[in-house]
Amino acid sequence: MNATPERSKGTGPRRTPGTALLLGAYAAAVCVFLFAPIVIATVLSFSSAPQLIFPPPGYGLSWYKEALETRNYISGFWVSTIIATSTALISAVAGTGAAIAINHYRFVGRSAVQVLLMLPVALPGVVIGLNLLFTLPLYGMKTGMVATTFAHSLLGVSYVTYLVLATLANYDLTLEQASLNLGASRIQTFWRITFPLIRPGIGAGAAFAFLISFDNVALSIFTSGNDTLPLRLMQKIRFYPDPSVAAVAAVLVLLSLVVLLLFGKVLQQRDIGQLSE
């Protein structure tokens, strides 16, 4: 009655089909749990009724039409997109520089810098947001897109640094030595050798920073009025929810997938062997 182990060596206690079925069903249930709200929100976006009834009484695209005509959503979308793009750029530059500094050099204060770069993600978002609320007036800055961009970039830098460092772990430093030895300057070495080879990591980091920024609430509530899309959605959900939120939600899911696919393609293209100089 005991099934033969699936792996050839060291498989541990024998696995019965019974247990496999049970655990498999459990895993499926967890997956259902994980996807349920997303699926339901997406289905609801096609509802024809104004109430949040599930299953919807009828189907249609009316809520998409409604969402696309709501100024609130449109302007929120653009604000969030601009902030997220700027955040991705700033994070990519700052994070890559930090990763190179940490990876290539052993300098006094290196561990302190590593800890510092990890802190923005470790500390609660509301705390960082609160701190910025306190500090912005000192720099003569007002809450708004610029402040929010800088705030989101704090998180972005952390993630980009981490991802680029991971890429650098597989990176051969003697390549840079070879480049210097052959006569290239340090700047040339960075652009022609280092950068092309760590581009995948930078791309992944930038994509992640974009998504993190777009989705961010804890910082935005302090640094922006009510301008970003998540904040506007939150407000709508709290006070007068209707399936238009679902429609926007569905569009956001699509957006996230597109961003990921885009960067996935970028990652693939940078495959060694297809890059030209």
């Binding site: 895993a27 994980l34 996807f35 997303i38 509301v126 956001l252």
Partner: protein
């Protein structure tokens, strides 16, 4: 003709500077210029972090000892009244204990929900492993607002669950799940589950299968092997997962705001209300400082406990 090069006695070189670092060492203008290099690379990151992260932390600490004035925003002072109030006023104490309690509960629930799933992913699922890992990552990519909205539809008084239960005749009146602690906890568990699953998967995957064969060979049944070999060896993953979930839940703003209730106040919305609603910056600052202390303390305590009670696990 054999040459001989002078090999002098190894007197420590007075010109050498052993503390100059391993990069270049030595004297010379070029070497000194090179010591600046890492800092040049760090410039953009530091230009961002120092004014917008480091300095604000200092301002936070400073503000927490200022005084809130009903007429004039916040008055420079040095007082620990804010902190005293935090620890004595029942409102604030409630906020802290609520959040700690929920964070702890969700952490435990997440652990128990995740463990069998992680175990299955590592030890059983072969064809579906990649799919399952993707299934864990996917919700993280979708905006939290989207996920919360879905839960609202599911848990509302006229939502999916209640409609089902009432329709079947299980209950007469809808259960208050949404806008109650239970709804909030469902949402929190859902949001932070991946943060528990992934470290667990990593830790369980690292367990040497030979150990499990050895255990079976020594006569241990499946349950004994699971309890005495697998669970202890996955401890690093359990600890990391718990820390991530705990810190996340404690700092969460969206879930309490959208699915919680004002009768059960949580820390993050409370800080926001204090700062923006009440404009009591000093109060809010002291709450934030205490929050940081709690998070750091929990991390340290779990790490220390881990090291003390499972020293053998450190090398895993």
């Amino acid at each position: 003709m054999t040459e001989r090069s002078p090999a002098a006695a190894p007197a420590p070189d007075p010109d050498a500077d052993p503390a100059a670092g391993q990069v270049a060492g030595g004297r010379g203008k070029a070497a000194q210029a090179r010591r600046l290099h890492p800092w040049l690379w760090l410039l953009p990151a530091l230009a961002l972090l120092i004014p917008f992260f480091v300095m604000p932390l200092g301002i936070l600490a400073r503000n927490s000892v200022y005084r809130d004035d009903p007429t004039a925003l916040m008055v420079p002072d040095f007082t620990i009244d804010n902190y005293v109030r935090m620890l004595t006023d029942p409102y604030y104490l409630d906020v802290f204990t609520n959040s700690l309690w929920i964070a702890f509960l969700v952490g435990i629930i997440a652990l128990f929900v995740s463990y069998p799933f992680a175990y299955y992913v590592v030890r059983w699922a072969r064809r579906s492993r990649k799919l399952l890992i993707w299934a864990i990552y996917m919700p993280l990519i979708v905006s939290v607002i989207v996920r919360v909205f879905g839960w609202i539809v599911i848990t509302a008084d006229s939502g999916l669950i209640n409609n089902l239960l009432v329709g079947v005749g299980f209950i007469d009146r809808p259960l208050q799940i949404l806008y109650a602690v239970s709804g909030m906890m469902i949402g929190l568990t859902h949001r932070y589950l991946p943060l528990m699953v992934l470290p667990l998967v990593n830790a369980i995957a690292k367990i040497d299968p030979a150990l499990l064969t050895a255990s079976a060979g020594l006569g241990a049944g499946r349950f004994r092997t699971f309890a005495l070999v697998i669970v202890p060896l996955s401890l690093p993953g359990i600890v990391v997962g718990f820390q991530l979930v705990f810190a996340g839940v404690l700092s969460d703003y969206v879930l309490p705001n959208l699915m919680g209730t004002t009768r059960f106040r949580m820390l993050a919305p409370a800080i926001y209300d204090e700062a923006i609603g009440n404009v009591s910056w000093a109060s809010a600052a002291s709450m934030a400082v205490i929050m940081i202390v709690i998070v750091v303390a929990v991390l340290l305590i779990t790490n220390l406990a881990f090291r003390r009670y499972a020293p053998w696990a450190r090398t895993l």
